[in-house]
Structure formats: C-alpha cells, structure tokens
Amino acid sequence: MRFLNRSAGRLSRHRRGPLAGLVVLLLGLVLTGTAYAAFAPAGQAEEAADNAELVEQGRELFLVGCATCHGQNGEGVLDVNGNQLGPSLQGVGAASVDFQVGTGRMPMVQPGQQNPSKNVAYSDEEIEALAAFVASLGPGPGIPEEEQYSSDYLDSLSAEERDAAINRGQQIFLTNCTACHNFNGRGGAMPRGGYAPGLRETSEKHIYEAMLTGPGQMDVFSDGNIPPENKREVIAFLTTLEEEPQQGGFSLGGLGPVSEGLFAWLLGIGGLVGFAVWIAAHTTRTQKGKGQA
C-alpha cells in the first residue's frame, strides 16, 4: 500500500502539469473507441446493410439483363416447347456469375451449343452486384480471393519447391484438362459445334472459377476433387507455359500433327518443288569450254 500510495502520489504530482489534460483526453478517447469497437455489433450491421444494398442493386440489374431467360428469381425459364431457356441460378454461387459475366459469356447473344466469350457488358461493380444477388439465391462457391488463384506465390518458393509445384500442376493438367483443352492449352472440339476454349487468354481468376463451377460442358472440379492448392498449381503451370520460350521454334498453332502435316506439305514440299522447277529451268550451255569432265 505504501508503494501504491507513493506511486499515486508521484502521478498526482503531475496532475496540474501542462500536458495532463491532453493525456487524459487521449486516454479517454482510446478507451472509449476500443470499448465501442469491442462491444458494439455496429460493424457487421453496416456490412449487412452494404450487402443488402449490393444485392438490391444486383437484383435490379438482374431483372433488366438476365431475368428473361433465368427468371425473376433466378429460378430458370422453360420455353413453349418445354426446353430449358436459361437454367436455374439457385446455388451456382457468386463465382459462377463472376466467370460467366466477367468473361463476357453472359449475357448470351442467343442460345446455342457454345457460349463464346466476348466483350464484357458490365462494369466490375455491376458484376459484383450481380454476383451478390445470385449468391443470395442459394449457397454456392464464392469468388476466390487473389491469394487462392494467383501464380505470384511461386516467387516466394525455393527453386525446388517451384519446380515441384509446376510439375504437379502439369500432371493434374494432363490428367484432367488436356483431353478437351489440348496439351498446349489451345482448346479442342466438342460435339455439335461446341468447343473447349483455348486457355491462353483466360485470366487466372477465371480459370480458377471455371474449375470451381464447371461452365458449359465442363466438369465441376470441386475442392474435394482438386484441392485449392492444386488448382493454384494448375494455374501456375499454365502461366509458365505461356512464359516458356518456344524451344523448338514457331509453334505452328500448337495443334499437333495436323498443322505439322500442313506445313510439311505447303512449305516443305511446296518449297522443294519450287526449287526443282528452278533447277530444271536453269539449263546449262553444253558448248562452254572443252565439254569434258
């Protein structure tokens, strides 16, 4: 007690000092602020309010741009013949919206075998709003965070870890993806005019979302099927594929033996026949010199 009294006394000695008021004020503010932040539920409430606003904004966009085919509540629409015009969006998740709208696939020009990517019709904020609205219809995969898909993490790895990650990515790619997307990520044909698009132009986020949601004829590669870190390794492999130098020269479209055969005939045989014509056309003067070998 004596000790306490003594220190209180020491503190008390400064109570009329020039900075005392300021210190007390600051202490008071910090305490109040911390206590408020610790106890008040105001943060979540605000976020919920923001989200509700976003969903409402998304709903309005949805009613204008999407509801014709997907229904006003995203329940899907059948045409007069009973065919599905637009599928139900309940449970497809925000990732699906971000992929379909973010790559320009939605809104669709017309129903068909293939839904090609084209110019993106909505701004990033609008896509976010649409995604929020669709996510509110039912639980589904969310938009991935950057560290989930970005291949930049390779820079933080040692050379060996990096090689191992890219190698795993290639193995997964060759096992699951090349059958449609080609060994080079150049795409391939699907039945009735459909196709698996080339992956060279697709952003890392959209590749991740495609694996997660399985757009079009593509399979869904859920996190149980290909864990998130493996998905990221596939993306890392695809990125290095683009960065790799063309060791063999021009890739000739990276389409395999068909384009190789085309070049063998057009350039190779075409060129050599041209040379044959040239050689045969340049005939010798037989009377030059003595004419003896």
Binding site: Q113, D163, R192, F250, L255, E260, A276, A293
Partner: protein, 571 residues
C-alpha cells in the same frame, strides 16, 4: 580421266607416246587397274537424263532419305530405347521430378542437353514428312504421265512398297520417344491389331510381349526402326535406282525424241551438279524447318501414361487417312457367341488400307489388262492424253483427301467454327460421291483439253488480232503453233483398242474365258471412249489447204470463205 592422257594428239602413222599422267590421272589409273572402274564410269558418267522439273520429285525422296540416315545416326548416339522408369531430372523445369521411361528421358536429353540435339531431332522428323510426301508426289507424277507402263511395272511395285514401308518406318519412328501423343498412337495400334478376328489378341501379345503397354514395345519398335526397315528401304531404293538406270529415263515427246533414245544432259558434269546441288537444297530446307518450326514437342506432351490423352491426338499426316476413315465410320460392332467383333475398327483400319494398297500396287497391271497394251513406252503422255487414267488417279486422290480431312475433323471444327458432327456426316457421303464426281469432271476436262490441243494443231492458236474484211466481216487471225508444241500434239501415239477375238467360234459356241474377254472389251471401250485422237496427216493437210485458201480469199472479197466461217463459228 586416265585414258585422256594416252589419246594420240596427231594423225601420224606412229602412235605418240602419252606424256606423264597428271596426279589425278595416275590415281585413277591405279584405281582402275585394281577395281576396273573405267568401264563402269565410262558407261555411266555420260548417262543422259532428260530435263524436266517433274523428274526431280523422286530425287526429293532420295535426298530426304539421306538426311534421315544422317540425322538418325546422330540420334542413336543418345537415344536409349528402354521402358525402365526413371525420375526426370533434366533441364526442362516443368517436368522435373516426373517419373518417365528411359526412352522419354533420353529423348528429353537429346532435346535439351545435347548440343544441336533438338535441331537434329526436328530435322529428322521433318525429313520423314518430306520423305513420304515426296514419294507420293513422285508416284502421282509417274502415274499421270504413264511412266508406269511397260517395261516399268515392277519399278512401280517397288515404289509402292517403298511408300508402304516408309509409312511404317514413320510410325515406328514417332512412337519411340514414348511421349503422351506417341503412346496414344501405340495404344491405337494395339487396338487395331486386336480388331482382327481370331488372331488379333494373339498378334497384340506377340507384338507387345505382354498386356499393353508391357516393357518390350519400345525396344522392339526401335530395332524395327533402325535396322529392319531401313535395311529393307535401302535394298528397295537400290533396286528402284538400278531399274531406273536399266530402263533409262522416260522423256516428254518433242523434237528429236523417240522411243529409242533419251535426249537430255549427261550425268557429268550437268546432272551430278544439279542432283548434288539438289541434295544440299533438300538438306538446307530440312535444316531451316528443323531450326524454325516446332515438331512433336515431347516436353509439352509429357511422358506417356495410359490414363491421359490430349485433344488433337492425331497420327502424323501419312497415317491420317486411315485415322480419318476410323473417325467417320459408324459404330457398327457385332457380337457372336459372347465375342465382340469391332467391325467399326476392322473395316477402316485393316481392310480398306489393305485394299487401297493392293489397288495401288496393281494399277499398272489393271490398266494394262484393260488397254491390252503390250508395247514398250519410253515417251511420256500428257495427263490429258489418257483421260480415264488421269481421272482414275484424281478420283483415288479425292478418296484420300476426304479421308484425310476426316482425320483432322476436330482441328477443322475449331479452326473454321464448324460442327464436328456435320463434318462427319458430310464426309460419310463425300467419301463415296466425291471420287465419282472427281472422276467425271477430270475425264471431261482432259477430253476438252485434248480437243483444244487438236484444234490448235490444225488451225493454229488465236493471236488476238481481229481483222475486218473489205465487205465488213470480222475474223480473228490464227497462227500456227511453234514447231515443238505442234509436235507434242501431232507426234503422240493414238489410242489402240485391244484386238479381242470374238467370244464365239464359227459355230456359235462360246469359248472358255470369253466372259472375261467380254468384260475386258467393254472396259477398254469405256477406257478410250470419247478420247480425241491425234490429228492424222490427212486432217493436217486438209486444214493447211483451208488456211492457204483463207489467206488468198481473205485478200480477195469472197464472203462465203468457209474456213473463216468455221473459225468464227468455232470461237
């Protein structure tokens, strides 16, 4: 040469002793006394070859074969044909740590660590493409110009065998690196063998030594690729060339050219330079292709694994047409007593290619049987002068092309935004209808060209000079063709129908074998039907007479100058 130094330099009565031979002469003399080369050289160094670009197509094949031998030997220094599994630790980062076969590992080593290895590997592959492609265009040239006729039928057979065996050589070659694409090809080959009824499974086990893939297929393919087939190819190439020397080269008809001579340039110095130079050109083109254009990037395909496959899995182009037939074949599969008979594989891969190759091999004999032509031919025919033959080859080429397109149907679908199904449906019909249409169009086209040539030979070519006669009639002046061109048209042999004995004897009794004679007679009539025969001397004289008349009359004022009338009508 050694003999030149001993040739007398005067016409004096006493022989002049030769001077001291030059170094080269002395060397040649030394060799000749031991090897007897002078006689051989004297005969062959002056051997004459006619000059035409189309006679050099076979040379492309020969020289690309030499490139294949050279680059192939280089590759064998490092390639290790083993299916032992190893961990890849080479310099291509994305594959490091993968388990691969030793064959794949050593192919990667050649591509990434051996200096110039990838260049030589790519040159070898491109040269293989050029080898088979040039054999094909050479073969088409031979057939279109009638160079397969007597006495060269056997050389045609040898050439066809070269094409078949060259194709197999290509297949065994591109299967060796054991990458994903080539493994898919070997897997397909396994299926093809197994599609053969009864013996298929045994054949597969015989080849693979085990259930697919086993551990024996790569070493076996390797020894077939580097020893067995190259040996056969070399022997056949040698036989092909010896027969070429023996038969002497064919030539186009022209001034001074007959069935009994060859007009052209001698081997030394002209053709040695031309052919030798062409070797360097072929080597150079192959090197440029190998240096600049990726072929079979095995590092991208990765090692073969039966559980993986890639879109765009095609064989190399020369195996593309059976693959195409397989792709458009409806899925007809039959089951007998619990055994599946994959007719949908057996027909397009085993039966049709076999039939097609037999047809190819027999083409000279089929034609010979129909035309009944027993004469020797050393002068070539222009394709138009044998319309049915030309049309036959074009229709075979159309069949090939349709099957070929089918082989690339998926690439065509994505590149041209088409539906793979519709390409398939189209080709299922086109493969039958296309050759027929091509046959008819080509045949009529040839006959039109024949008519045109005859017209020109008889009445001259159109000069584009329009003359107006004093009484106001317009006509175009025609000029006679240059002599060499004229000779090509007028100098060729006309068609001769085979002389068949009547099918019944004097008493009306049918002779044995007359039924086939009847078929043969009908076929030969069809073969030559509507062909335009070369102008006869009488026709030429007649035309000349008309033209002389026309000149006189043209100067005068006769309005019913019948030659002018026919000419203006004709054009």
């Amino acid at each position: 040469m050694s003999t030149t130094s001993k040739v007398a330099s005067t016409n004096g009565a006493t022989a002049v002793a030769g001077g001291k031979p030059s170094r080269i002469g002395a060397g040649a003399q030394w060799a000749d006394e031991r090897l007897g080369l002078a006689g051989l050289a004297k005969k062959n160094l002056r051997k004459v070859f006619p000059d035409h670009w189309s006679f050099m197509l076979g040379e492309i094949a020969l020289w690309s074969f030499v490139v294949l031998l050279l680059t192939g030997v280089f590759l064998t220094f490092w390639f290790n044909p083993s299916m032992v599994e190893v961990e890849y630790q080479g310099s291509y980062a994305p594959l490091r740590g993968s388990y691969v076969s030793e064959a794949f590992n050593s192919s990667m080593h050649i591509s990434f660590e051996v200096r110039g290895g990838l260049l030589v590997r790519q040159m070898h592959h491109w040269a293989a493409h050029l080898f088979i492609a040039s054999m094909m265009i050479h073969m088409m040239r031979v057939f279109f110009t009638g160079a397969h006729r007597k006495p060269r039928e056997l050389n045609w057979v040898i050439g066809s065998l070269l094409l078949l065996i060259g194709t197999l050589e290509g297949f065994t070659g591109y299967s060796l690196p054991d990458d994903l694409l080539s493994g898919t090809g070997v897997r397909a080959a396994d299926g093809f063998i197994k599609s053969i009824p009864v013996v298929g499974t045994y054949g597969s086990f015989l080849l693979f030594g085990d259930e697919f893939p086993g551990t024996a297929i790569i070493p076996r393919l390797y020894i077939i690729h580097v020893l067995l087939i190259p040996g056969v190819l070399l022997a056949l190439v040698a036989a092909h060339m010896l027969l070429l020397v023996y038969h002497k080269h064919t030539q186009w008809p022209g001034p001074g050219r007959t069935e009994g001579n060859v007009v052209g340039f001698p081997m030394l110095p002209v053709y040695a330079a031309k052919a030798g130079g062409f070797f360097f050109i072929v080597f150079g083109v192959t090197a440029v292709m190998g240096a600049l254009m990726t072929i079979n990037p095995i590092w991208m395909y990765g090692p073969y694994d039966p559980s993986k496959v890639t879109a765009g899995s095609q064989p190399d182009w020369y195996m593309g047409w059976p693959d195409g037939l397989l792709r458009i074949m409806p899925g007809w599969e039959f089951e007998f007593w619990g055994v599946t008979f994959p007719f949908n594989v057996f027909l397009p891969i085993i039966v049709v290619p076999g039939v097609m190759w037999t047809i190819l091999l027999l083409l000279p004999f089929i034609e010979n049987w129909i035309t009944g032509d027993k004469r020797e031919h050393h002068l070539l025919q222009r394709p138009r002068d044998a319309p049915t033959r030309t049309a036959l080859m074009v229709s075979l080429m159309t069949f090939y092309a349709m099957a070929w397109i089918a082989g690339g149907n998926d690439i065509i679908a994505i590149r041209f935004d088409l539906s793979i199904n519709q390409i398939t449906y189209f080709l299922r019909a086109a493969i039958f209808i296309g050759p027929l249409i091509a046959f008819m169009i080509t045949r009529r086209w040839c006959i039109s060209l024949q008519r045109h040539a005859k017209e020109q030979a008889l009445h001259g070519y159109e000069t584009g000079i329009i003359e107006r006669s004093p009484d106001g009639a317009y006509s175009e002046r025609h000029q006679p063709l240059p002599a060499a061109k004229q000779l090509v048209i007028t100098g060729r042999e006309g068609d001769r129908l085979p002389e068949l004995e009547p099918g019944t004897d004097a008493n009306g009794v049918r002779k044995p074998g007359s039924r086939t004679d009847g078929l043969r007679g009908r076929l030969s009539k069809l073969w030559f039907a509507d062909n335009v025969q070369p102008p006869t001397q009488a026709e030429i004289d007649e035309a000349h007479h008309h033209h002389d008349g026309a000149h006189e009359l043209g100067a005068g004022s006769s309005a019913d100058d019948d030659d002018h009338v026919t000419l203006t009508k004709g054009h």
